[in-house]
């Protein structure tokens, strides 16, 4: 460019300015993501000695990975628990946010207020505030005492739970559902963004489709599954990915806490990186599987 031979073509100039626009990202990505990523991969394969002059990783093969899977007593258990919770949570959040979005898309008095309330958790239950509420083991103890003193067996939910469990049909499934219902607060506060995404998708569906279906004698229930669901299925994929990422990256997840603890408390950088990599690969695989499976189901209009 500087030699001023002749002005470069428009395509080339646009390509250059495109690169200039995204250059901050490229620099940041290489410096603060790629380099540390490779470094942590290398560290996970070695023992790291930290001294005041610097840090020397000494290569030791897959020792750290062996330690994570075979020696450490907690890691396997925490990992499987976390993945199980992830599956249940993702399904719960998706179902919840889908139906809430359906309701919020209708017209009724006070809709703006209700929308504001549902979106409130995104603002206030993020980051450290969630951690404070749940880190408080003392509080949990207090709650238990309160629950014991108020004999909770007489509540309606407990009675229904009893009937359903003793009915003998798939009690394992029921138990999972009860867990979700008991934890409805967690589901509600972690589905703000998902509701919003579904809502914006619902608003793009043209009214005439429903009218046509109505005239042809389609019931509301049928048009929900035949029109609404396919039309927003592409957003389903986005939401699944977002939910999984959001759930696994929250700082108060037990695996995350273990990784941070190993690093900051015990200064065992190698082991901590190895665990982080295992976690990342597994979560990435889960997202990939979901995306692969869902992209077969998703219907693209246009």
């Amino acid at each position: 460019m500087k030699k001023k031979k002749k002005p470069a073509g428009l395509q080339k100039r646009k390509a250059i300015s495109g690169y200039l626009f995204i250059s901050p990202f490229i620099v940041g990505f290489l410096l603060f993501m790629v380099k540390p990523l490779f470094q942590s991969l290398y560290m996970s394969l070695s023992t790291v000695n930290v001294s005041t002059s610097g840090f020397q990783p000494v290569f030791n093969g897959i020792e750290n990975y062996k330690k994570a899977f075979l020696i450490d007593p907690d890691f396997n258990r925490l990992l499987t628990e976390e993945l199980g919770k992830m599956v249940v949570n993702t399904i719960a959040v998706l179902v919840f946010s889908f139906f809430v979005a359906l309701i919020l898309n209708q017209k009724f008095r006070g809709r703006a207020f209700v929308r504001a309330v549902f979106f409130l958790p995104v603002i206030i239950s993020s980051g450290v505030i969630l951690g404070v509420e749940y880190d408080n083991t003392l509080l949990a103890g207090l709650q238990e005492t309160i629950q014991q003193s108020a004999n909770s067996d007489t509540s309606i939910t407990a009675a229904i739970e009893n009937i359903l469990v003793t009915s003998g049909v798939g009690s394992r499934v029921f138990e999972t559902v009860f867990e979700v219902v008991d934890g409805i607060y967690d589901v509600a506060i972690s589905s703000g963004i998902q509701i919003l995404i579904f809502l914006s998708a619902l608003q793009t569906i043209s009214e005439s489709m429903y009218e046509a279906a109505d005239i042809e004698g389609c019931t509301a229930w049928e048009s929900l599954w035949k029109i609404t669901f396919p039309m927003i299925s592409s957003m389903l994929l986005v939401n699944v990915v977002y939910t999984i990422v959001d759930f696994c990256m929250r700082t108060d997840s037990e695996v995350m806490e273990m990784i941070t603890e190993q690093m900051t408390l015990y200064l065992d950088y190698g082991f901590s990186s190895a665990m982080a990599w295992i976690y990342f690969v597994i979560v990435g695989a889960a997202i990939g599987l979901c995306a692969l499976f869902l992209s077969k189901v998703v219907y693209y209009y246009e």
């Binding site: 300015s17 901050p24 990505f29 840090f55 309330v117 409130l120 404070v132 990186s273």
Partner: protein
């Protein structure tokens, strides 16, 4: 059918119209009322579910310690007191921490959104080789947990150096742990909290602006930069406000990056996590009470502190609720 009947005889009452539609009108009206009642119940329940913890914290924070153990006091405090707020403010160093948090959140949010806008615009409106590859990198960045790279970033900034310049001149590397500089550098490189998400959203927005607008500007002799600043940016105001608010709020409550890179700055989010310990120490060392503060009272002070941290955000949310919700949903997130 009922509509047609209604038009013919306007003064027909409801039952007559119902008879003419063979019971359809009654069925429809009853169904409509039922749906509205059920919906109202559901919405009330769920709104209460979300608001209850905040209301609960509010009532607890106004109670005296004796009220906490009084079984007759459930939600409305018997002795209203502001002493808890005073105590929590002292433990957190509220005034100073508030100013620090405000400054850091504002500057970080501004920097992040400025850079993300540039990058998002670049991805949306230019064709260049390897574009898809770089965009895949953005998506990858959203998915990689920051904890994976945290370890080596931690060491990277502990022994910081640019191409060995510092090592050569002063003989040792720079220790940037505990200073705010690393986080600003990361933000300038789009590697802050959830920056991939902002890039993604901003790109989606810019993609939907018609190309004719841009071409007209080019034909009229606008350069690339001028087109960006005077044609594109004013259009993107709603999405940029949204992203800015998110960046601000999430930075405000963030614990991970703050404790990782801003450990020495007194921030509200960090102070909040330490409030319980400080209360215990205060009880043991100043009031000389063995065993520290009681469970209930610790809980009460933590609730008060949490309220004080989110109060500015709540007030902000009340005023710019539209900026958070409406503009994001109207921007139309499309894949």
């Amino acid at each position: 059918m009922s509509k047609a009947a209604g038009k013919i005889k306007k003064n027909n009452n409801f039952w007559e119209r119902n008879r003419m539609s063979e019971g359809y009108l009654l069925k429809k009206t009853v169904m409509g009322i039922c749906v509205r009642i059920i919906r109202a119940f559901l919405l009330f329940g769920m709104c209460f579910l979300i608001l209850q913890p905040i209301l609960n914290k509010l009532s607890i924070s106004l109670m005296k310690e004796s009220d906490l153990y009084n079984p007759l006091v459930v939600n409305v405090p018997l002795h209203v007191t502001a002493a808890n707020y005073q105590l929590a403010a002292d433990f957190m160093g509220y005034g100073k921490a508030f100013m620090n948090t405000l400054f850091i959140s504002l500057s970080i949010a501004f920097l992040q959104i400025a850079v993300c806008t540039l990058v998002g615009y670049g991805f949306a409106r230019f064709k260049f080789p390897l574009k898809n590859f770089w965009f895949a990198c953005v998506l990858l960045m959203i998915v990689i947990p920051p904890q994976t790279v945290a370890t080596s970033l931690h060491l990277h900034f502990r022994f910081f150096d640019i191409l060995g310049i510092f090592k050569a001149t002063t003989g040792s590397t720079l220790n940037l742990r505990g200073s705010v500089l690393p986080y600003y550098m990361m933000s300038a490189g789009c590697m802050g909290l959830k920056n991939g998400l902002y890039i993604f959203l901003i790109r989606q927005f810019f993609r939907n602006i018609p190309f004719e607008l841009e071409e007209a500007a080019y034909v009229d002799g606008c350069g690339t930069l001028r087109t960006f600043f005077s044609i594109m940016l004013p259009d993107a105001k709603p999405i940029l406000t949204s992203c800015f608010l998110f960046a601000f709020v999430w930075q405000w409550t963030d614990g991970f990056y703050s404790s990782m890179f801003l450990g020495n700055v007194e921030l509200l989010s960090i102070q909040l996590t330490r409030i319980a310990d400080r209360l215990g120490q205060y009880f043991q060392n100043v009031l000389k009470i063995q065993g520290g503060a009681s469970i209930g009272y610790t809980n009460c002070i933590v609730a008060t502190g949490t309220l004080m941290v989110i109060a500015p955000l709540l007030i902000l949310y009340l005023f710019v609720q539209k900026g958070f919700v409406e503009s994001l949903s109207s921007s139309g997130i499309k894949m």
